[in-house]
Structure formats: C-alpha cells, structure tokens
C-alpha cells in the first residue's frame, strides 16, 4: 500500500468507524440480539438519472450493499432499513433517526446512511441498511461500508470498494482501482482493467481469478493470496502468515514479487515468456516443479537463482519459514 493509499484508507476507516461508534455499532449479527426483539422495516426506492457514465458514491454503516448493472441510463437505489429496538417505540425511533440521504448534482450522486449526532450510553435500537443498486454498466461506483458485505457485478466504470468489516466481491468488472477490507475476504473475478489494481485485507483471504490489469498488488497480513489466470505487467503479492499463489502469463520486462513470512509461495508461469528467478527461504525448501529447467543456476543456502526460458521477466519469490515452489507450463 502506498503512503497516499494508506492515508486515504485511514481517513476513510476512521471516519466510518466513528460512524459505527456513534450509531451504537449496529451490525447485522447484533440485529438478532434478543435485547432488541422489536422490528420495524422500511423500504424505499429512488431513481436517479445520472446518464450512462455517471458517478455514484455510496457509503453505509451497517448492512450489505449490492450493485449490479442494469438497462437504461438511470440508477435505481432500493433501500431497506431494518430497525431492531428494545420496544416497538424504540424500533420506530430508529427508523426516524437513521436516514438515507441522497444528493444529486448533474451526473453525480451521493447516497449515505446518516445517523443522529453523538449518542451517550447504549442505543435503544440498532439499524441496518441494505442497499440494492442497479446502475448503467458505465457508472463509476465508489462503495464504502463499516460493517457489511459489498458485492458489485457487471459494472464497467471506475470501481472502488472499501469495507472495515465485511467481504468484498467483484465480478465481471473493469477499472477496479481499489478493493479493501480490514476484516473479511476480497474476491475479484473476470476483471479487465487497463489501470493498476490494488487489493488488501488485514485479516482475510484475497482471491483473484481471470484478472487483467496494468499492475496487480495484493497485501494481506493473515490470510492467503491466490491469483489464478492473472495477466498483468507486474505484480506484488504479499501475505504475512498465509500462502501466496500466482498463476498466469508473464509480460516481458515485468517484475513479479511474491512474499510470505510463514506460508508457502507458489509461482507458476504460463506461456512463452521466461523469467529470471530469484528465490529464497530461510528455513523452508525451494522446489522447482515438473519439467522446469533453469540455466545459469546458482543454489546456495536457501536461495536459488537462475534463468527460465528467455528470462524475459523477473520473478522474485521469498518466504521466511515456508516453502517455495516454482513451475512453468
């Protein structure tokens, strides 16, 4: 994560986690709490005319967000608020206090779940807000949430998803610039982007399938990174305690770095472009797999360097206590 990315991420997370605190940290799971037996539900639908390539900025505190592509040039926002209260009156108060604010300006719209000002003591209600959004495929979407899953599919505009606690799922998309969660998984599939792609999770797995991007970076502390059928000009994949797997064709001149502290790192190059290998492990083993042939090979104390094929790309693979597996097919 770059310093700028980190700054943005911290700004976002601090703000929205504050929202969670102010709101009584409403969560979907907490909605089942027996202390909040009363339930009031409200559903509303708003249609926003943003054109075929408008921008939608959606921020939520608690509840899932689903965004998918639809026909026409309008964005349809379907909002369901579920208020769990200690009493019916409390539940009703929750619906009254927690509102969805929608602002539009030209081809831009901002949709935000808004909670009341600072509350002291335990809130008498817990409200979760569930968004189902249908938007033109070219819409630029930014979705943020404190607690809840975010799922986006078939959106071809710029896409950015950031969640504090919840899973991020993106499928059939283009120009995914950021997909992040602190606690949860990130799964991207069938993404074709000409921009750099940055994915991160503090605690959770990152899965990339059939992804094309200028560059790919994935950073996980506790969790596995699995990149399958990924095509990019370079990649940096890191996990502290999980495994790191990369399978895909290489770009000549590209640099591919895979790192783990305690997990096994597996790199499989597909196609004609070869690579210069620099692999190392402190206490694990380095295992060329299958018919991999290295020229100019130097093996020394947990390190292995050499050239595979034409050496067109650079592959740096490192793990501290895990094993390294290198293959080509």
């Amino acid at each position: 994560m770059t310093p700028m990315d980190r700054t943005r991420w911290i700004r976002l997370t601090t703000a929205i986690v504050t929202a969670a605190a102010l709101a009584g940290a409403a969560t979907a799971a907490a909605a089942q709490d027996r202390n909040y037996p009363a339930l009031r539900t409200d559903r509303q639908t708003r249609t926003l005319t943003l054109g075929s390539a408008g921008s939608l900025d959606l921020s939520n505190v608690s509840g899932d967000i689903t965004v998918t592509a639809g026909p026409g040039t309008s964005v349809v926002v379907d909002v369901t608020r579920e208020s769990h209260g200690r009493t019916e009156a409390d539940a009703a108060q929750g619906l009254q206090d927690v509102q969805v604010a929608i602002e539009t300006q030209g081809d831009r719209a901002t949709v935000a779940t808004q909670y009341p000002k600072t509350q002291h003591g335990q809130s008498p209600y817990r409200v979760s807000t569930i968004y189902h959004v249908t938007a033109p495929a070219g819409t630029h979407v930014k979705a943020t949430s404190v607690s809840g899953n975010v799922s986006v599919s078939h959106i071809k505009g710029d896409l950015e998803v950031q969640v504090v606690s919840g899973n991020v799922t993106v499928s059939d998309a283009a120009r995914v610039t950021n997909a992040r969660t602190i606690s949860g998984t990130v799964r991207l599939s069938d993404v074709a982007s000409d921009a750099a792609l940055s994915v991160s999770a503090v605690s959770g797995d990152v899965t990339l399938e059939r992804v094309k991007a200028a560059r790919v970076s994935a950073d996980v502390v506790s969790g596995n990174v699995r990149a399958t059928d990924v095509t990019c000009g370079g990649a940096t994949l890191k996990s502290l305690s999980g495994t790191v797997d990369y399978t895909g064709p290489l770009t000549r001149g590209g640099r591919y770095e895979l790192t783990s502290h305690s997990g096994t790192v597996t790199f499989t190059a597909v196609g004609p472009v070869g690579f210069a290998l620099d692999a190392s492990t402190f206490s694990g083993s380095i295992q060329p797999v299958g018919s991999l042939t290295l020229t100019s090979q130097i093996a020394h104390r947990g390190s292995l360097t050499g050239t595979v094929g034409d050496g067109g790309a650079t592959v740096a693979v490192r793990t501290f206590s895990g094993n390294v597996r290198i293959a080509r097919r």
Binding site: T2, T14, V202, V221, S280, S303, R318
Partner: protein, 249 residues
C-alpha cells in the same frame, strides 16, 4: 501515473540512474510533486553517497553483527516517545506521521537498499590500514542504522501504547481482528530477529524483518487512527464525515 509505492520500489535504481529513460523521467516527474518520495530519495542519495566512500569494504558482516547485538536488547523504552493524539484529520500532527514515516523509511532504505546491494555485490576482503578511515564511514552508517532502529522501536512502542489504551473503545470485531494480526506480526518479527541473531548474514532474515516491521507500522497506523477518531465526541455526524473524507480520497 505512478504511485508512491511504484516510485519507492524503483528509487534505488533511479538514484543509480539504472532505469530506462522513460522510467527515469516518470519518477523525476513524480518526485517533483511528492514531498514524501523526495525525502526518501534524499535519504537514499545520502546513504549512497556514503556508501560510495566505502570502497570494497568487508564490513557488512560486522555491521549486521552489531545490529544483531542491538536486537538482543529487547527493552525498548515505551515512554521515550510521547505522541500527541488529536482527532482526525489533525490526529497526530503531520510532523509526527512524517517523522514516523521517515524513521521507518530509513530502516527500510538502510536495510533493504544499502545493505543488501552491499552484500550481494561486494566480495569479502580483509581490513587493511588502507581502508581504516573508511571504517569510520561504515561506523557512521552503523550508527545511522542503530538510530533508525531505535527511533523505529520508540514509534512502534508509542503506537502500541495508544492502541492498547484506547483499543477497548473500538468496535470489538475490528479490534479483535487488528489485535490478532498484530500478534501474528510480532511473531514474525520475533522469528526474524532470532534468525538474524543466529545468522547475521542471512538475506532472508533481513528481508523478513524489514517486511514485518513495515507491516506492523501499517497496521498500527490504522489502529491508532481508528482509536483517535473514536476519542472524538461532540463532533459532526460521522456519516457526514465519512462522506466528506470519502470525497477527499
């Protein structure tokens, strides 16, 4: 458009004028508008300049032994660095963050960019009277490394204290996730330290240590920023803040 991460990855080669012309130009363009990367570049040039005065030195082993000695000193003074925490976006003065970033960066640069190339490129040679004066320069570098590690340790200790004190006010699920990961990072740091003490020349141990330290700073920064904001009371509605900050980002 290159990101800071992209630029910092290639800065070492940029300083050595070892990149293709287009890449050199792109990084120069980024540096012109990025104070943080420019600061790292300046540090790197300074270290490289000192490195160039060393000639074919045999001392990285000694240097790493000294670091290994230092790593044996586990008692970091947590009270040494008191960091004022205010609500976001003023939380932590920009200077404090810059300081922390520079301290961490110096470690990364020093360990990653200077030492590793030194070890990989230079064949061991005996210390002779001819290079006795150069040893002083190496000592300077060693001192810088020591200083960086010390500063880094203080920064981490300060962040840990803050996170520990206020962690209880954070959303329990997020707090638990962050704590679990900090524990995992600490384990990685401990393993890397042990390995480095046993084998000061191990490139894997060195790289793992710097990676783990960097990750710890990342997670701690996130943690402290979260608890900072949770200290805020009587502020504007947080969803508004989220919206505003989201626009800024």
């Amino acid at each position: 458009m290159r990101t800071c991460s992209d630029v910092q990855r290639d800065l070492s080669r940029y300083v050595d004028d070892d990149l293709p012309p287009d890449d050199q130009a792109a990084i120069a363009q980024h540096l012109a508008s990025c104070e943080v990367c420019r600061g790292i570049e300046a540090d790197l040039r300074q270290l490289r300049a000192r490195a160039r005065t060393l000639g074919p030195m045999p001392l990285p082993g000694h240097l790493w032994s000294k670091i290994a000695d230092r790593l044996r000193m586990e008692n970091v003074d947590a009270s040494a660095e008191v960091v004022e925490v205010r609500s976001w976006p003023m939380s932590w003065s920009h200077r404090s963050w810059l300081w922390l970033g520079l301290a961490a960066t110096l470690v990364v640069i020093a360990l990653g960019a200077y030492i590793a190339p030194s070890l990989s490129r230079r064949a061991p040679a005996a210390v002779t009277p001819d290079n006795a004066t150069r040893a002083v320069s190496v000592q300077d570098v060693t001192d810088e490394l020591d200083q960086a590690l010390e500063h880094y340790g203080r920064a981490v200790a300060g962040l840990e204290t803050l996170a520990r004190e206020d962690g209880a006010s954070m959303d329990p699920a997020v707090s638990a996730a962050l704590q679990t990961n900090l524990t995992a990072i600490d384990r990685a740091i401990a393993e890397s330290r042990t390995a480095l003490i046993d084998q000061p020349q191990s490139a894997s141990a060195r790289a793992s240590l710097t990676d783990a330290l960097r990750q710890k700073v990342d997670v701690l920064q996130t943690t402290v920023a979260l608890v900072n904001d949770l200290r805020r009371e009587n502020e504007d509605d947080a969803a508004d803040a989220a919206k505003k900050l989201g626009k800024q980002s």
